[in-house]
């Protein structure tokens, strides 16, 4: 299968950019309030469309009191639908990663969003527990736009800001899971007050997330660009793009053990976040005898913390990398995620409402920051198979959600508070493998960089290409990336090894 690879732009027509860029034309600055094409525009398009997908996927939980009466659902039906809503994306995320490598994030994400929009529209027609489970299952596929978001940001933003860009885009997208808990009840109430009866009003309400999803996909297609220099297809036809083979991309992705470790650990920050999105409203409602809308507001605040927590994680990753390089990123990730596990254990043990809310918020900050920190590391694991690694990690997140819901929150084996405490213990254990991630050129948590001769950034990234491919020049963009990634040595190392020879940022 022939696929598009990374772009190697001919320097004959250097385009002008609103932001300062590096040699790959990736922005070296992140300006939140700009919509300048192509970088910041891509950022806003990707987070808004991802937000829409989250709103759709978690649109049902806040309206369950109505839906469960209309469709005659049991608690098991509801639990199964919840698991279904996050399981679709397990493989869809891996597929999305590959699709980004093949077709570019713009087409890959817009296609998925438009193909899953029917599932959201059809929620309005659901009439049984089976149809309800099916629509939640297929709607959940849209959560794999997470991968295209991260891929897009990693293609548009350079090493110094890639963690921040990934963190803000991911976090503001995840916000949708919290916002929907507020939006859907409001829309429902509005429609009901206009005159619709309850069992019809909730059906009409689902058109809002469905339309939002459709329109955001259109915006991505019309206004977005895959790479700073243009779209995959056009660059490819003009000869500015190299082609890669799917089997190679796949091989180099799945044989990189770091991808697997990150997939596991992401299951215990993001996976835990998804689980909490599905169960926390009921937890507060049952344990503290709250009104449903009060429980909903508390549930929403968990997801809403994403507005700062995940971006915060990304920014911490970038800030730590400035001084300590990749080793700092790994340490920060391990510390923050382990602390998240600790607060999760505490949440399961706290028995009064006020402290419980406080602990939940602290827990959400650490849990979501860990998500941001994870994607400060992911862009560096592979250059050739960036999409696939992003997809594996993202997919691992959903596996974590499926597992934790199956083990701790299905049926009546554990009370919800015990389930939460045990989940916290599992978080701590599944975060330990991060200690084993090692980059020869930068080191790992406990070991410094290798002192052998074949341990530079170039060696690491070019090891993904064989000599035949190098002769054809397919590896050139990996080479550029390797140069730009030298920053991951951290300030101390960088000064020692390269006193004057710093890769300058290209300002056009």
């Amino acid at each position: 299968m022939e696929i598009e690879g990374q772009a190697t732009v001919k320097e004959s027509h250097p385009p002008k950019f609103a932001l300062p860029v590096d040699s790959e034309h990736k922005a070296t600055e992140f300006r939140l309030f700009s919509v300048a094409a192509p970088h910041m525009r891509a950022f806003h398009l990707s987070w808004v469309s991802f937000f829409a997908c989250f709103v759709s996927t978690f649109a049902a939980p806040p309206l369950l009191p109505i839906i469960r009466d209309n469709l005659n659902l049991t608690a098991s039906d509801i639990g199964n639908a919840g698991i279904a809503s996050v399981s679709g994306a397990v493989f869809a995320r891996v597929a999305m990663g590959t699709a980004c490598d093949l077709f570019g994030p713009r087409l890959a994400s817009a296609s998925l969003i438009l193909l899953t929009a029917p599932a959201v529209y059809f929620t309005s027609i659901a009439s049984s527990s089976t149809s309800f489970l099916l629509v939640r299952f297929f709607t959940g596929f849209s959560l794999s736009t997470f991968v295209s978001t991260q891929f897009w940001m990693s293609s548009m933003f350079s090493a110094p800001v890639v963690g921040t860009a990934n963190g803000v885009a991911g976090g503001w997208g995840n916000l949708g899971g919290g916002a929907t808990q507020l939006i859907m009840p409001l829309v429902f109430a509005l429609i009901r007050d206009i005159g619709a009866i309850k069992f019809t009003a909730w059906r009409i309400a689902f058109f809002i997330p469905a339309l939002f999803q459709t329109l955001s996909a259109f915006a991505v297609l019309i206004f977005g660009k895959d790479l700073p220099d243009g779209n995959f297809r056009r660059l490819q036809k003009a000869g500015d793009k190299t082609k890669d083979k799917f089997s190679n991309v796949f091989y180099h992705g799945i044989t990189n053990y770091r991808g697997w470790i990150l997939a596991l650990s992401y299951g215990y920050c993001f996976g835990v976040e998804l689980t909490i999105d599905n169960i926390v409203a009921e937890y507060f409602y049952d344990r503290f005898d709250l009104q449903l809308h009060t429980a909903g507001i508390i549930a929403a605040s968990f997801g809403l913390a994403n507005i700062v927590s995940r971006p915060g994680g990304g920014m911490i990753s970038d800030a730590v990398a400035k001084r300590f390089g990749m080793r700092g990123r790994l340490w920060a990730l391990w510390i923050v995620q382990t602390l998240g596990g600790v607060f999760c254990i505490i949440l399961g043990r706290v028995g009064s409402l006020g402290p419980s809310i406080a602990v939940m918020i602290v827990f959400s900050l650490f849990c979501q920051a860990a998500c941001g920190l994870t994607f400060g590391v992911v862009p560096f694991v592979s250059r050739r198979s960036l999409g696939l690694i992003s997809g594996m990690t993202g997919g691992g997140g959903n596996v974590g959600a499926v597992l934790t819901q199956l083990i701790f929150f299905k049926g009546s084996k554990y009370s919800k508070e015990t389930g939460i405490m045990l989940m916290g213990i599992m978080i701590i254990f599944c975060t330990l493998p991060i200690c084993f991630i090692y980059f020869p050129q930068w080191g790992g948590m406990f070991c410094g960089p290798s002192s052998s001769k074949i341990a530079t950034e170039e060696d690491y990234y070019l090891s993904e290409w064989n000599s035949e491919e190098k002769e054809k020049g397919l590896h050139l963009s990996s080479l550029k990336f390797a140069e730009n990634s030298r920053r991951e040595r951290g300030r101390k190392q960088d000064c020692e090894t390269r006193p004057v020879d710093e890769t300058p940022s290209t300002q056009v």
């Binding site: 469960r68 438009l114 029917p118 309005s124 009866i197 059906r203 058109f207 339309l211 297809r233 049952d286």
Partner: protein
């Protein structure tokens, strides 16, 4: 209390509920009764695996009877057969039910009740078939918008292919 049998349709069928003080109790038992509230209650079979309909001894937490049929002030002088005809409302879910009448005192505390079924809530139950809430208009819109989403995607693909052939 007397009611009709058969499956009742939400929004259409009617229930006639009749209630009154049990004439065998001592006189003066009903001196504290101020209001009678008649409610539609879930039978045990409809409470299975549905924690939001659980029966709990503490009446404040009890979720068995969620639908109010009627509330009437109680007059001890007229304590025999009262009745009310109620159309099953459109937000009543599909389930098996019985009916209960609660008597409240002046402080809104429950002081007595009667129900159409036995203590184990197994006899004399009836079923309600809820409306689906679906409308032809909503169904049509869903299908049309879905088709539109998919078709427009292929429209964009086609456009992309055409544009790629043009020079930059």
């Amino acid at each position: 209390l007397l009611i009709n049998f058969a499956v009742l349709k939400g929004g259409e069928d009617k229930i006639t509920v009749t209630w009154g003080l049990n004439q065998t109790v001592a006189a003066g038992t009903d001196s504290t009764y101020k209001t009678i509230k008649v409610k539609l209650c879930y039978a045990p079979i409809s409470q299975v695996d549905r924690g939001w309909r659980k029966t709990v001894d503490d009446l404040k937490k009890d979720r068995t009877c969620q639908h109010k049929i009627v509330a009437r002030p109680y007059n001890p002088a007229n304590n025999t057969a009262q009745s009310h005809e109620w159309t099953v409302e459109r937000d009543v879910p599909t389930a098996t039910y019985f009916i209960r009448a609660y008597a409240y005192d002046a402080d809104e505390k429950e002081v007595a009740y009667g129900q159409t079924t036995d203590a184990g809530r197994t006899t004399n139950l009836f079923q309600v078939q809820a409306i689906s809430g679906r409308h032809v208009t909503v169904d049509t819109c869903s299908i049309c918008f879905s088709v539109f989403s998919v078709v427009s995607l292929f429209g964009f693909f086609y456009n992309e292919k055409r544009n790629a052939k043009r020079p930059q």
